[in-house]
Amino acid sequence: MRDTPLSNCERDFLLKAIQEKKRLDGRQTYDYRSIKISFGTDYGCCFVDLGKTRIMAQVSCELITPKENRPNEGLIFFNIELSPMASPAFEMGRQSELLVKLNRQLERCLRNSKCIDTESLCVVSGEKVWQIRVDVHLLNHDGNLMDAASIAAIAALCHFRRPDVGIQGEEVTVYSTEERDPIPLSIYHMPICVSFSFFQQGTYLLVDPCEREERVMDGLLMIAMNKHREICSIQSSGGIMLLKDQVLRCSKIASVKVSEITELINKALENDKKARKTGGKFGFAESLPQERITALKTDVSPVEMSDVKEKANEIVQRAEVPPQTVPSPVLTAPGTGQVGEGLENSWGLKEEEEEEEEEEDETVELKMELEEGHEEKGRGDVVVISDSDSEEEDVVILNQVTTKEKASISNQQGAVASKQQQQQQKKKKKKRGQ
């Protein structure tokens, strides 16, 4: 799909508005859009929202052999991807100029500034070092990709924890997350990019351009700085001529912005650490405001009940004798339930056994349809066991298996598992019988 072209009247209007110091969304010249930083459940996963621009960064690590000329330094690899969902102009698999520019800029900003201590990533000099890989995905393009990408990358690096390594003589053991707590990377400082866009040959300047402002700009100046007022990288594109005092003014603005953004990142990291420590729920799903999504709420919908009685009678007359009642389920191991001991297989024929299995599957399916069909939750005699590992499901065990249809069962796995166990027991008994 092609991107929408910019019409003449939009361009004229934007330039005129900028001359009057007005921006499309009502910001001032030096204002950033609202930045939201949230972290995922894994260590090293970070989402950044800069207005409507949305970027996700994920950090991962693996052990590899180091470079020959630097045997005791770890490696860092950056990769930015422009997803086609971000803008109709981005196509899958096509290396565009913008992509190359962004990649190069992120590398320069984070690698050349030596913000990460690569020597601490060494495990065995010359043989094994950690390679840290930062993948940045663009999810929505509304201007100023570089700033958002740098914020996401550095926040994800600060959030990331690598597995602990123990060295005893010649032996190297990499401990998994359960054995020993993973340790964070050692980061010296946090470089953050700030973008300035220029209009009318450098006369007008805007900080944090949105997508439409980017289309009409003459040139872009990008300064990467940390909160100690050290410039990590500075780049000017578009071929505009800038005066010395303009650049100095931009760097002063950048230092103010960078210290604010660093504050924000630190606060977000703190909040996430607190949430993880207290055992509360954390991760991306939690940061979505609960009020807006009403997926679990539906109104009562009328159901055609006009001829249910007749249908029911018909089915009753045609129905076969159901299997005998089974006693209440027994928990053999967490996550599985067993219903009954398993009856003696009285059929004796292989095909019959398969039919029986199919019937049982059907009844299980019916049960599941039943659960989905009803929204009323009459608990009755039910015991709710919430597994602390699984965040989503609650395992509900029924005391009375004679299910009145009002009980909402969500232990589909338990029912199926119990049925399967029953079948297996039947098979075993049959084999023993034979």
Binding site: P5, S7, C9, E10, D12, K16, P302, K311, A312, P322
Partner: protein, 255 residues
Amino acid sequence: MVCLFDCVILSCFYVIIHLVYKVGDVLLPGDVFSFQMPESITDSKPEKVVCGPGLRRNGDEVLVCKSGILRHKQPNLYWIDSQQRRYVPGKGESVIGIITSKSGDIFKVDVGGSEQASLSYLAFEGATKRNRPNVQVGDLVYSQFIIANKDMEPELVCIDSCGRANGMGVFGAGGLLFKVSLGLVRRLLAPQSEIAKDLEKMFPFEIVVGMNGRVWVKSKTIQQTLIVANLLESCENMTAQQRQTLFRRVADGSI
């Protein structure tokens, strides 16, 4: 006996339940459409029902193919009102297009669909082979589709069937073009549009609304134009009350 009852209830609901829908219900794609006859129609002869956008006939049944709210218009028209931002060209619709290139006798126009539409230079009022219209690349045109289906390239014209412009043609100097969802555009263009009425009370402005979700606004000052544009973009998901409160607040605090 309890177990028998068990079995019965389970098998009962094995059959697909036909939910009776009321106008105003939220429906999802795949729902089989069956509705309650309004009491006004009491004759027992088979009713012809017109299915609007979002409903499709599949053999004997009518299926819902878009998610949205069921709407009804007397006497027998039903359709699904859904939110969408991506425009699909439809014949007879008036849209705002952006000229992207000139080649030979036709202009290529971007209307926000999957393909660019073509607009002949003779399709303007008073245009002849000698007297070409003054259209540049990047201009905005308000035009109508004469051909718009999935098998052919869409075609636009800037004149109506009598050969008069009737409001169509090149426009747009000095205003701002922005994009909104198709639902909001339809609400703006409805004959008794409340949003348009509320906006009129604010301050005078010119507005052109295209069915492809593009809206062009121009007012006396840039500030006012920006205000109108932002208001329209924000009243997408608001109820009527929230919208009126917002408009009142802006009118009180505005220049």
